[in-house]
Symmetry: C2
């Protein structure tokens, strides 16, 4: 199962990029994983939250394919544990999922339309983290989930 | 109020160090903040969880001063929001707290004795993150809390 972390917004600070490389390298012996940056063309940039969300919606829907299993990350989502992430990944693979897309919304969240497309909505924390750090946190959790599924000692609960 | 993030365990990967510098630099115009690494001497290193926790307890208690306000981070703690972190920091400052110590336990958690010393126990997430990444997450939340207290636009809720 291909795992893609989709994230709306800016390029990474160098320490985030380095961290993503670190976790992706550790994950790839188990499973393919990548970050997909979704960036609005500069001429469309806007500080109007509703407008930004609609433009982002269009960009996301254009990229979304029928074989994608979409998990939205959102503060209002379910707070799962790490073993539950692993369990969910296993179930997706059992269902024959080709590509899991984990979507990190933009700075203002996502539209209701995107929310309806999501098969599941998960939350990382009650705390708000910046999008770049969320990318890193998700990369680590994906690695942890596959470590759990492969009985690696990385996750000792 | 001096903010110290105490963390038991190894030196940081370079991307974590770079990230900590990034957030500490942003925080310092508002408030002093630092990472304090607590490392057992190599000759005491052990894979026995209970032994490690006791050795870590000794090390932590030796460092703990009466003017320290100890917040323990632990999976079983309270899940606060970012504005609640800010509120708590404000209350500590109002009480005249000199030094806030945010303690990230070792790989096996902390002893009950340390838990009793903590004035509060907070949780970041139901997910398990590695200690190094937790250091970075805490550094960002400390920056966010002071941004909120200083009405900076960094945190838009």
């Amino acid at each position: 199962m291909q795992v893609e972390i989709w994230s709306v917004g800016k390029e990474n600070e160098s320490f985030i990029d380095e961290g993503l490389k670190y976790y992706f390298q550790k994950t790839r012996p188990y499973n393919p994983v990548d970050l997909v940056l979704l960036q609005l063309p500069k001429k469309l940039a806007t500080t109007d939250a509703d407008k930004a969300k609609l433009l982002e919606e269009e960009m996301i829907l254009k990229k979304l394919q029928p074989h994608h299993y979409l998990v939205l990350l959102d503060e209002r989502g379910k707070l799962l544990t790490s073993p539950q992430w692993a369990q969910q990944f296993q179930q997706m693979m059992n269902m024959g999922t080709k590509t899991l897309v984990i979507l990190i919304g933009g700075a203002f969240g996502v539209t209701d339309n995107i929310r309806r497309q999501a098969r599941q909505v998960w939350s990382l924390s009650h705390l708000v983290f910046p999008h770049q750090l969320v990318r890193l946190m998700v990369a680590e959790q994906v690695y942890r989930a596959f470590s759990i599924l492969n009985n690696s000692p990385y996750h000792h609960s």
